[in-house]
């Protein structure tokens, strides 16, 4: 899928690679390029480093903006062919180049990130050279930010694979050179991974490989050009959640043996005062409306793959006035587990199942917002941790359904 490469410094080997994934980021790409270069010089001066822009054949001048950003670190530009767009393709090209360069460590950052500092490079990269195989980011986030991670990906991944990685689809991460070959050769790569499924795919593969995983605290809240709606819309939602479910099917032999969960090592404290994330405005009535409207579109479909007790409960939740809206976590966990079984067995068309899950997820998000609206970030984190325990406690239900329902 690599169509074009520009390597003006003729770099053939590198210990450390920083990859910037982009698609039409002409206005942003200079900042992470400069910050990455500073981070590499300040903290990895003894290493042989390179910055790679892995791009989706942007036509807005991203390539020129990247290559013309003055840095002391050499740069390489890679691109997919015209029309081949996807974050996963970019990261795959980055990984292949890292293997070619025989890199010991790869740091991947989204070119749209506006809050990156040289410390991100330090804190994501140093654990790899200390022996960790994968480093996930640990940002300070607003309690409503990244709702898909809070409501589905974190609790599911934690309960399934038994490893607590709080931001498993953070977008910025690092991995060891040994993991690169795994990523290139793994048979679970598919069209969803080639898009926005790639982040959870890389995190999950690291968990299933059993490599030591670390969470790197980066201090600053993540601010990205792509920030906006807190509830991911399709097709991003389907790409991410579909990848979680695809990986469940692929790694059944791993997760069926896992009970409860374990923490990961944390890296990067002592960074001084941590910034508070910007407030997020939520239109609760729009979320409520989207949840209720989902019934008109998907109720019949839900009845084909969700157990009747869950369908009945959904009917009760729908009747709740917005001021008393609540989506119990026990129901949510069992609903997601039932969805995953139906997905595995292809009870309904998989893409249709994923689309029908979106309004239910919107309802669950509304419930989470209502429960945590008077809470501090830390209190909301504790609430989400308790939600995760509910997923772990409900895992026997998943196992019984998964193993018995053919």
């Amino acid at each position: 899928m690599l169509a074009y490469e520009e390597n003006p410094g003729k770099v053939e080997r590198a210990d450390l690679v920083v990859g910037l994934s982009s698609h039409n980021n002409v206005g942003n790409v200079a900042l992470p390029t400069e910050q990455a270069a500073r981070g590499l010089l300040d903290h990895f001066g003894e290493k042989n480093s390179v910055i790679i822009n892995c791009d989706n054949h942007s036509e807005d001048g991203t390539k020129e903006a990247f290559l013309q950003t003055p840095t002391e670190i050499p740069k390489i530009y890679l691109s997919t062919p015209p029309g081949m767009v996807g974050r996963g393709y970019n990261l795959r090209n980055l990984t292949a180049k890292a293997v070619e360069l025989q890199a010991q460590a790869v740091i991947a950052v989204d070119a749209g990130v506006e809050s990156i500092t040289p410390m991100w490079i330090k804190n994501l990269g140093e654990p790899i050279f200390a022996g960790f195989g994968f480093v996930a980011p640990l940002y300070v986030r607003h309690k409503y930010d990244d709702a898909v991670a809070n409501g589905i990906v974190y609790p599911m991944t934690r309960a399934l694979y038994g490893r607590r990685v709080r931001q498993p689809i953070g977008g910025d991460f690092a991995f060891a050179g040994e993991m690169a070959a795994t990523y290139l050769d793994h048979p679970s790569w598919n069209d969803r991974v080639a898009q926005f499924g790639v982040d959870i795919w890389m995190t999950t593969l690291a968990m299933c490989q059993g490599v030591p995983i670390c969470q790197a605290f980066v201090g600053k809240p993540r601010v990205s050009q792509h920030d906006g709606n807190i509830v991911a819309s399709d097709p991003t939602f389907s790409q991410v959640v579909g990848t979680v479910l695809d990986l469940m099917v692929h790694f059944q032999n791993v997760w069926e043996r896992v009970k409860w969960s374990k923490p990961t090592a944390i890296y990067g404290f002592g960074m001084g005062e941590v910034e508070t994330p910007a407030p997020i405005e939520i239109a609760q009535d729009e979320l409520h409306q989207a949840f209720v409207e989902g019934f008109a579109q998907y109720k019949d479909l839900w009845e084909t793959f969700l157990p009747s007790n869950i369908n009945n409960k959904l009917g009760e939740i729908k009747e709740l006035p917005q001021a008393q809206f609540s989506f119990p976590s026990e129901i949510w966990a069992r609903l997601l587990y039932s969805c995953s079984v139906a997905y595995k067995n292809e009870v309904v068309e998989r893409e249709a199942l994923l689309k029908s899950l979106l309004p239910l997820f919107v309802g669950k998000t509304l419930s989470l917002i209502r429960k945590t609206e008077r809470m501090s970030i830390q209190q909301a984190e504790e609430y989400i941790e308790n939600e995760c325990m509910i997923f772990e406690e409900a895992k026997p239900y998943l196992l019984s359904q998964w193993l018995n329902d053919h």
Partner: protein, 121 residues
């Protein structure tokens, strides 16, 4: 029989935990504080550590970091009189935390869960 290391600078807590956990069938060893704790873990190879957060000479959360960096998968349960420690993000590297109490039901439950998660039960 799983081996549990109880680290607490209060003798009556070490005694209480030790007696009650031995009654549950665990092999229990104790340490007064963080001095040479990593060496002690290396030598005695416990299956789980119960770690006091506020000791006179040591910060349990710093010790937790050291343990996690050297013994990646060793289960650690934080034991505390107050829950204000949760404001410190270092605490998420612990498997669980319990509030100190003479009723050890919660601690025993968390020990069981942590050992099951690590496959040492």
């Amino acid at each position: 029989m799983a081996k549990i290391l109880v680290v607490d600078d209060e003798e009556h807590i070490r005694l209480l935990y030790s007696e009650e956990l031995k009654e549950e069938g665990y092999d229990v060893i104790t340490a007064e504080g963080g001095h040479l704790l990593l060496e002690r873990i290396e030598q005695d190879k416990p299956d789980l550590v119960v770690l006091d957060i506020k000791m006179v000479d040591y910060n349990g959360l710093d010790l937790l970091q050291d343990i996690r960096n050297k013994f990646y998968d060793l289960p650690v349960i934080l034991s505390t009189a107050y829950d204000t420690f949760k404001e410190d993000m270092k605490s998420i590297a612990a498997d669980f935390y319990v509030v100190k109490s003479f009723d050890l039901t919660e601690l025993k439950k968390k020990i069981q869960m942590a050992l099951e998660a690590s496959g040492a039960s």
